[in-house]
């Protein structure tokens, strides 16, 4: 026991005395969350649009007011003729044009159907889709408010409702993703680097030729990073809740327990990596390319998995991060209990056990 403690003490010395790694370990998560929470967002604000009102009646005016009142749009100009539309787009001044048909109000009241044309600058297709979606929802919303409780039999009601995230806030997706990424980097990458460093500097030789049991060496490497990861989870969640305004709908305890499981999984992964490489550089490369990149691309963090080709979807199942992100979203955003996440939890448990087993098998008690 004394051996374990003195080992852990040594590991903390290594970490605390290296100012650069301290910066990465504690500063990075904070930076990431702030970046993703505020600066980088898939949302659109104040997109420049143009309105061509061929009707100029009370209805169109109301719709236009509603649009003007939205933070998404900024009515940059009012067009008068169709020819102006082209020019407005070509000069790049607007990304969307909303065109009301002539006699809009008349058509609506007499035939119960009138049309609005939405033209978007699709040279940025994602943007265009988003803008169209925003505009459509606003118009549909207005349509619903018009109709009131009496629905005419042949009107098709499209009800658009954004569940859990009515304002479509980006952070709901980014916070779990950031957590998955940070924890993986700290627990897996830093742990593997710490273990490999002993190999590289030659101190591992001395440790091996001593009564100390090999598993003790490994555990003592993992403990500091476990603690640091835990601190990071706490700080990220605090930031998310109090600064970014994200709710925690489900049980906080369950959330923390799941985070701990994921940390264990990442530590086991770090162990596994350390048994497979012999230089710190290699450990870092494997972690960055083998872990960080796939997590960013394939875990569902930035891009929806459902949109990916089949083979990438299969690949994403191998990433612990993917399962963890699902768990966090279920608990944090949907407020589900264990019954909603038992499948994913099992997967993570299995991965952890497998990695630990493999690492134990591969840990070399001798050189070469």
């Amino acid at each position: 026991m004394k051996q374990l403690l003195v080992f852990i003490k040594k590991e903390f010395f290594h970490i605390l005395r290296d100012p650069r790694s301290m910066l990465i370990l504690l500063g990075m998560p904070v930076v990431q969350v702030i970046l993703f929470g505020f600066a980088i967002t898939n949302e659109i604000k104040n997109a420049n649009i143009a309105i061509l009102d061929n009707s100029k009646d009370e209805q169109t005016q109301k719709i236009i007011n509603k649009i003007a009142g939205s933070t998404y749009f900024n009515i940059e100009r009012s067009l008068v003729t169709n020819e102006q539309i082209d020019e407005a787009f070509k000069t790049g001044k607007i990304k969307l044009a909303i065109i009301f048909q002539p006699n809009f109000q008349n058509e609506l009241t007499h035939t119960n159907s009138a049309s609005v044309q939405l033209i978007a600058d699709a040279s940025d297709p994602n943007n265009a889709t988003t803008l169209i979606n925003y505009a459509s929802s606003i118009i549909l919303d207005y349509q619903n408010s018009l109709m009131g409780p009496n629905k005419l039999p042949y009107t098709i009601n499209t009800e658009v409702k954004m569940l859990y995230n009515p304002e479509l806030k980006g952070i709901y997706s980014s916070v779990p993703g950031v957590m998955a990424l940070i924890l993986m980097l700290i627990s897996a990458m830093m742990t593997s680097i710490a273990i490999v460093k002993e190999k590289e500097t030659g101190t591992m030789e001395i440790l091996l030729v001593s009564p100390i049991k090999p598993w003790l060496i490994v555990i003592s490497k993992a403990v500091p990073y476990f603690i640091l990861s835990f601190i990071n989870v706490t700080s990220i969640l605090l930031l998310a809740v109090y600064v970014l305004g994200m709710p925690i709908e489900g049980s906080i305890i369950l959330l923390f327990v799941m985070c701990v499981l994921y940390i264990f999984c990442s530590l086991a992964l770090g162990l596994f990596i350390s048994t497979s490489v012999s230089t710190q550089q290699a450990a870092m490369m494997v972690s960055l390319i083998g872990l960080m990149l796939p997590i960013m691309m394939l875990s569902g963090y930035m891009f929806p998995i459902a949109n990916m080709p089949w083979i990438l979807q299969m690949l994403s199942n191998v990433l612990p991060a993917k399962w963890y992100i699902i768990i966090v979203k279920q608990v944090m955003i949907k407020g589900l209990g264990f019954s909603g996440i038992w499948k994913e939890t099992l997967v993570l448990l299995g991965m952890t056990a497998l990695l630990i087993l493999l690492s134990i098998k591969r840990f070399k008690i001798r050189l070469k």
Binding site: R17, E205, K368
Partner: protein
Amino acid sequence: MKAVNVENIVLSYENKKGKTIAVDDVSFEVEKGEVFGLIGPDGSGKTSLFRILTTLLIPDSGKANVCGFEIVKDYKKIRQITGYMPGRFSLYQDLSVEENLEFFATIFNSSIKENYGLVEDIYKQLVPFKKRRAGKLSGGMKQKLALCCALIHKPQILFLDEPTTGVDPVSRKEFWDMLARLKNEGITILVSTPYMDEAKLCDRIALIQNGKILNINTPEKINSEFGKKLFAVHSEDMYKLLSDLRAFTYTETCFGFGENHHLTLKDDSVGVEDIKIYLQNAGHKEPVVKIIEPGIEDSFMQLMKSN
């Protein structure tokens, strides 16, 4: 019981060059309490041999025992009683002197207090620096710290792999003085070194080259097996002397040895005067020629040649 018993150990490894034999059928014994030197240049197999004896590598074939324990089966027991200093300083650079020592004492289930007497002489020199980061010590100090850490748990046997390489002559001498004092504690010490002059500080030595042992004995006995007359020759122009001696018909070997060149001849009957005459004729004004006793380096070079 011998402290170390090695029988026909062979170790080879594969790399870009193909298959290299690191340890080539090596056998020897070390008595308890001996200071045993493994003398040879880089790449001669010293480090590989030490790693085998400290149970870090398994040989391809052969057997070995350390303090009665078998190196493969009983590796755990060997690791409890061994002190090991691998080549080049390898303690924790960002830990202080004190922290390093405390760490190594604890992982060996010991403490600085318990065995302080053993390391006191060495540690006294480090005390003024005890809070300094190990990485900031000079080469000589680092090696002394490493020695302390290897000793702090009072091992039965000490393996020091090139502890004085790259260290200046003064620190080197101090280090060997420390080893001599340790002998009194009954600790068996195996040291490897490329410095031939350190050989005479050992009880017995093994000369090793290309994985093979050239000779094992006390330094004196090895030198007595030289078997030839050895001449030390000096003149004003040493460079010219070298080429002239090499051109001498009777010369077998001629090597620079600092102030003198060491010369061996093919013919036993040729003597000091003959050499002097030859040199004077070659233009050397007052050549100095003496017969000297061979040193370890002379012996080593001769053994190298015959292999």
